[in-house]
Symmetry: D2
Subunit: 245 residues, 4 copies
């Protein structure tokens, strides 16, 4: 790989500061933990960002130097600035930045605005979850077995009010009777988007080897063909031309 993929992991980073059991599980924050687990992949150059950082963690400069943005948020979705949401969406649409929504990012402003959906779903207690690999030939499923198990994850259930995914890679069974499309792919403008459901703040899901592999696969899948684009002008977003051949 000639150029490294510039990955930014954005985290609301609030539970970790206020809930001792979350702090114990993810002492470096969920974003810091994910960065650490991805250290094995020499193709990535990872930056951390959090809601309480200046510019809510995403200055124009950082956004313009991000190829793939990971997003974890939960209780403070409403605080994310609408202008920032618009800039994230435009970077996906026009520059092909990949966007990976983790867990409760299904209700985040950027996910809803990029995809075009409410992101509503059924919701329930933590329980046993089995993730099924429903698309074993997909690049995001590379190396993932037919199914794997979480002894406890927060239940997310259908109907999941998303725009129809281009591809569903994973779908889940929950012990008390629900099912969920837990790994979904979309394309919007120049960009690719992946949503992945596991990752509740009180569950050790980001320690699971398959989760780490899936996130790594998804980063490679979502990275734009042209890594390193900073502005729409540098990108292959063609518009407003007039052909008179």
């Amino acid at each position: 790989m000639d150029k490294k993929i510039r990955v930014t992991i954005w985290n609301e980073y609030t539970h970790e500061k206020h809930m001792p059991e979350v702090a114990a599980l993810y002492p470096e924050g969920i974003h810091g933990h994910i960065k650490k687990t991805l250290a094995f992949d020499g193709d990535l150059e990872i930056t951390l960002a959090a809601l309480d950082d200046p510019n809510q963690g995403l200055s124009d400069e950082l956004l313009n130097n991000t190829d793939v943005l990971l997003w974890w948020g939960h209780m403070r979705h409403g605080e994310v600035d609408d202008g920032l949401v618009g800039r994230i969406r435009e970077r996906v649409y026009r520059c092909g930045m990949g966007f990976i929504g983790l867990h409760s990012a299904h209700h985040s402003k950027p996910f809803r605005a990029i995809i075009g959906c409410t992101g509503d779903l059924l919701w329930g207690d933590e329980q046993k979850e089995i993730v099924w690999n429903v698309n074993p030939g997909h690049p995001i499923a590379a190396g993932i077995p037919e199914h794997f198990v979480f002894e406890s994850e927060e239940m997310y259930g259908e109907p999941f009010y998303i725009a129809p995914p281009d591809e569903v890679v994973f779908a889940s069974w929950f012990e008390h009777g629900n099912i969920f499309r837990s790994g979904c792919c979309w394309r919007r403008g120049m960009g690719r988007i992946f949503y992945f459901q596991p990752g509740h703040e009180t569950c050790p899901s980001f320690y699971n080897e398959h989760v780490i592999r899936i996130i790594d696969n998804a980063i490679h899948w979502a990275a734009p063909c042209e890594i390193g684009v900073e502005t729409p002008e540098q990108c292959r977003y063609f518009e407003k031309l007039h052909v008179n051949n």
Copy 2:
């Protein structure tokens, strides 16, 4: 409705003759039973057909006068004539005949040839199943609640090796840990295809009010825009024209 939808229900019709418990459940055959449950719908004109009938139940004349074909088969898939399979596929592709595959029709020759798939899946014992309405705005979901339950159905599980459906309307939870895309839509050529998983021969699923409603909805959805077409020549299948404007 000006013209009636000409529906043919094809059944392998073998279990009913050899297994007393199936005969007790469906004394008129699964096809006869389904016909009876659809009697409330005055828009339909229903013909029955079975594997042991002359022409395996589907003479050219009957096929040419079928707008929607329902298919239930299980243990004798291999006996279905390849020439007949080709004629069914061509009627879907060129004349827009709807095709509704029920239960083990996932492995039938016509389903596999029409869709382009092996139809393989995981398989297991009868157990509790919950069907989730994952696409509540879809015409096939009209009148169907958020979920409904079978106390016992044969388990079909992911990965289900089908071509990616255009739309998934129902998906199911099975008690012992599996999930399944249990109601799927495709378009092929001029025709529309629906696959619906419930309907094991030893289970009373075809007595379930939601199953009946779903089959009726699916017939209306799969019927061609032009009801009454007999041959490709009468149909809107455009080909081989040459434009020199």
Copy 3:
């Protein structure tokens, strides 16, 4: 049909007041003209709305009594109130209101927010256009020939930056070298959306018999299964339930 489909035709209604040639072509406004052409369809109950009306034409009461909303706008997209855009989107997502975007509605706020796209495209002078029926089995293509011609329409060209359509029904050839996906379908939440490209204000496209038929077909296709829903509470939008079976 038991209940009538409540259709609202929204028009920016500005060109007609300021450009004599547009006023001559559409003296009742584009919206008034479309209403008149649809008079043959007794299943429809049509209301007109315009940007300069109170509430920009769409009071909550009218929106709550609309099953399908048609939208024509061009030069004043920016004036449409963001709150109204949000209410339109929510009515599509949660109540299943159909949305039909006509011509330059590709750049309108509601279309972009509902679909999740920029709506950008190539653009050029008026020229000959041939519309091809690329999906002749689709309900919106019922009664439409293999192709039909506009002697002059405004050129819209690919790449068209939309979210991948669920189905493309029409695609167009333009004399000077461009092509365009001119009839596209999406599903979002409970609702169905259709975009149709012909209809420039200086062209008589809304007099074309095929255009009228396509708009009529699209209204029937986009109408929710449950006509007459006024609020999300009356609708089949399932959420927040918790299953512990």
Copy 4:
């Protein structure tokens, strides 16, 4: 790249032997020419195969050692052995072999059987063609401009009777009034399929730098995640398991 992608280019190889102008254009055969143009890509290991070779060019051993199969055929589609067609389809479905259909392969037996379609289309004389890049963020479009031109190619037109593609990457304008989806992607079972329209035997399209780049991109896109699989047993095609957790 650790392992090379094992590419087999299959060619009917008949026009080149009987038509002097084709022999002059492609003296090594279309397959030999394509191999030569791909020599720059060190990730590929290319084998040639032709209809008149033993086993119609595809012994079980060669097929079991092919990761991506390219197919060019035209006038002798009917001679291709049905058993071979079945083995090709199974290798795509179960082992994830990529399949790239070139030009008149739209009517070849393997393409029709893998995709599930007739492959019919409108057809016409050679004329000017403009290929539009309708999906510029797609990996197969990497490095390809907004549009490029063939001074003369055989006209293929819509309606093109294919199963709905998962993604359309290129679409074409033809001088005399037709349009065509000229670059289409599907997934079937474990495998990925790409169809690309240019490449008539009397046209120098396989000398075009963009065509070469597109074929190279498509090979990388269609290659299975696990290169080197020889048999279904070695592959990640999961089936027939029974979960009782």
